[in-house]
């Protein structure tokens, strides 16, 4: 039981860290290169501006849906899913 719990938590933590790293990337890292990105045009937008106004936001939304489904899979795999 304890071992199973550990594996569940290890997989859950790994998913959390993956998401946290992506979060750091889309919240901060990418915007540090805004000047470089602004030299590229995307749909008429300077790309650096676009990333802060829409790109990162879209990434956050997509990330959260992926997170929910991934974590549900971990729950099922490890026998931790709630009774429906």
């Amino acid at each position: 039981m304890a071992e199973k719990g550990d594996r569940y938590w290890a997989r859950t933590s790994a998913l959390m860290w993956t998401m946290l790293i992506l979060w750091v990337f889309f919240s901060f890292v990418i915007h540090m290169f805004v000047d470089k990105l602004n030299t590229i045009k995307f749909l008429g937008f300077p790309l650096g501006f676009y990333m802060a106004a829409q790109g990162s936001l879209i990434a956050f939304v997509v990330m959260l849906f992926i997170f929910a489904f991934r974590q549900e899979k971990i729950d099922r795999d490890e026998g931790e899913a709630e009774d429906a």
């Binding site: 998401m19 979060w23 915007h31 501006f49 936001l57 879209i58 956050f60 939304v61 959260l64 899913a81």
Partner: protein, 620 residues
């Protein structure tokens, strides 16, 4: 899941799609009806009243229909709100008058640097989903301080969490009630002080009788109104100007034109290179450090505000709590990724006007909308309120070397007028303006409801029931909860009339205080078994005091800035100090073994809630 919901409250929860679908259709029909009546010559003032009072009446009816005397329904809506609808409710709980009215204006004034707010107020939900919400849901708490008490063994941690919750939520709610009052004042021509109490009446009707259950279902209704109101004008504007009704795509070419216009204004001497801030160029308003720290504080603050976290207590399961955060962010995203389009369209309009080299005396002919807002004190030209052509001509003549043409530096537009401007710029009927007012009102009311409920619940559940009178009956507690709701609401309204504060400062302070006081202890409580009671208590006190002191010191006592970090990001210091204190103190203090068992159970979705509910209505 179907059995779970239908067994409990039957037809309403089974027919949510039909009910809210009908409601949305009905709202559209109402807007079209008013549009027809306007063409037939109905008075503008009546249109404004129609929007405000009809929407208020609908919210009140939902509130009254959702009345309850069960603790589980009052505090956590019976834990029966589906993920999708809880997402909508969270969206309107989250988006306040500041988001609805202030955001686009901020982007207009600050260009790229204003996007810190767009990023900060969305990315925080990633933290909510991966670090906090599912675990709090599993915990089975009624309030956020419940978690602190259980995890950190006792009253002191709960008490500190209550203090932080009340300070940050109360600051925030004053700003909301003020927003409600301002909208009622502008669209109903009421005295501001009267308007504040009218808004208050609306807020109380939604939340008094049904607590969280009533607030949930009115917030869903309010989300629908606010998102329709926000998207409609800018979609029409985009269709008119670029013949594609997708403003989020077309404002790219608006930005291209703005950049070109900026250059030609500078060349023609119509703008001052010192004051013209290029729209798409970063770090002109705040430097890189402050830009990123503001994003961080807003995100962490999002993940710490109790009125948001408690929304995820209402879902049927842990799984639904996670999905619900994703839906919340989606519904919030719809508004936030549209806001920069408002800013760009308004700026394009203004810069095009300036580039025409219009004589000040001809402004009424070229852009009458400047004077429409000038009357409310929202537009200044040459430093004078744009109440009429004569006033601004006189003011501009007093400026040495003024050529009589409108220049960039002559025009000062208040942030609040940007969201209101499309109907005027595109010459849309007044009904659209009324729609925007209804949306702004929905945004302010829904946020105020969530905040007031968070405060009143902390007082009635945490302070009274858990700390003062543990043997009190459910009905006593629920009656007390309502009395407290009324008292807190009146106190906040009184503050809003007596001390008209700057909304943006108040709001960002609330975020910083929540981030500093709550986040470190909350996250470490779930993710680090080693966090001890003493560590958490000291960490909360240290983080909250450092941030509070820095705000007060730099705002009122002329403290020098630490490392050049602005007052808006005061939460950063509290976060660092809070995490460090909890970590170091925990290493040197003994951890209670029963807390560790509770954490193990918190981390797994399967199994019973950690807090056993005496009232039993909540258990599935």
């Amino acid at each position: 899941m179907a059995t779970q919901t239908s067994a409990k409250s039957g037809s309403f929860l089974d027919n949510l799609g039909k009910i809210y679908g009908l409601y949305t259709g009905g709202f559209f029909a109402f807007v079209i009806l008013l549009a027809i009546l306007e063409q037939l010559g109905m008075d503008r003032k009546l249109i404004g009243y129609g929007f405000v009072f009809l929407t208020l009446a609908v919210y009140a009816i939902i509130g009254i229909l959702s009345r309850t005397m069960q603790a589980g329904e009052y505090y956590v809506a019976g834990r029966s709100v589906p993920a999708f609808y809880n997402g909508m409710a969270t969206g309107s709980d989250w988006m306040s008058a500041a988001s609805f009215i202030g955001m686009a204006g901020n982007l207009y004034l600050q260009g790229y640097d204003g996007l810190a707010f767009v990023l900060g107020w969305t990315g925080g939900y990633v933290l909510v989903a991966i670090l906090i919400a599912p675990f709090l849901r599993k915990f089975g708490a009624y309030t956020v301080p419940d978690f602190f008490s259980e995890r950190y063994g006792g009253g002191l941690a709960r008490f500190l969490a209550v203090i932080v919750l009340i300070v940050c939520s109360f600051t925030y709610v004053v700003a909301q009630i003020r927003g409600t009052g301002l909208i009622a004042q502008q669209f109903l021509d009421m005295d501001y002080n009267v308007a504040v109490y009218v808004g208050l009446g609306g807020i109380l009707l939604c939340s008094m009788l049904g607590g969280m259950k009533a607030v949930t279902w009115t917030q869903v209704a309010q989300y629908i109104v606010l998102i329709i109101a926000y998207l409609t004008p800018v979609i029409i504007l985009s269709a008119k100007k670029f013949s594609i009704p997708v403003p989020q795509l077309t404002y790219g070419s608006a930005i291209e034109q703005i950049t070109a216009l900026e250059q030609s204004m500078l060349k023609a001497g119509l703008a001052d290179p010192k004051t013209l801030k290029a729209h798409a160029t970063p770090f002109l308003v705040r430097d890189q450090l402050n830009y990123f720290l503001l994003i961080l504080c807003l995100m962490v603050g999002t993940a710490s505000l109790p009125h948001i976290l408690m929304r995820y207590f209402t879902t049927p399961s842990v799984k639904d709590a996670r999905r619900s955060v994703a839906w919340s962010l989606f519904f919030i995203f719809l508004l936030y990724f549209t806001a920069p389009a408002y800013a760009a369209f308004a700026k394009l309009e203004v810069y095009t006007l300036i580039n025409k080299k219009v004589a000040i005396a001809d402004l009424a002919k070229e852009a009458n909308w400047l004077f429409t807002y000038g009357k409310y004190g929202l537009v200044k030209i040459c430093g004078a309120n744009a109440t009429g052509v004569d006033a601004v001509v006189a003011a501009c003549q007093k400026i040495a070397g003024h050529g009589g043409f409108l220049r960039h530096q002559d025009l000062a537009i208040h942030a609040d007028s940007i969201v209101l401007s499309p109907p005027e710029i595109a010459k849309l009927p007044y009904v659209i303006t009324g729609l925007v007012a209804a949306g702004g009102l929905a945004a302010a009311l829904s946020t105020a409801d969530g905040l007031l409920l968070a405060i009143a619940n902390a007082l009635s559940h945490d302070l009274y029931y858990k700390m003062i009178a543990p043997n009190s009956s459910t009905s006593t507690r629920l009656i007390l909860a309502r009395i407290l709701l009324l008292v807190v609401a009146v106190a906040a309204a009184w503050c809003a009339t007596w001390f008209p504060p700057d909304i943006l400062i108040l709001v960002s302070w609330a975020f910083s205080l929540a981030a500093a006081g709550i986040f470190p202890a909350l996250v470490l409580g779930v993710w680090w078994k080693g966090a001890t009671t003493v560590g958490a208590v000291l960490g909360m006190i240290a983080g909250f005091s450092v941030t509070g002191a820095y705000m007060v010191g730099t705002h009122w006592y002329k403290w020098p800035l630490w490392f050049g970090i602005s007052n808006l990001s005061a939460g950063f210091f509290g976060l660092v100090v809070g995490f460090a204190t909890i970590f170091v103190v925990s290493l040197f203090t003994k951890k209670p073994s029963e807390a560790v068992q509770a954490i193990d159970a918190t981390r797994r979705p399967r199994g019973d809630a950690i807090i056993k509910d005496k009232d039993a209505e909540v258990a599935h």
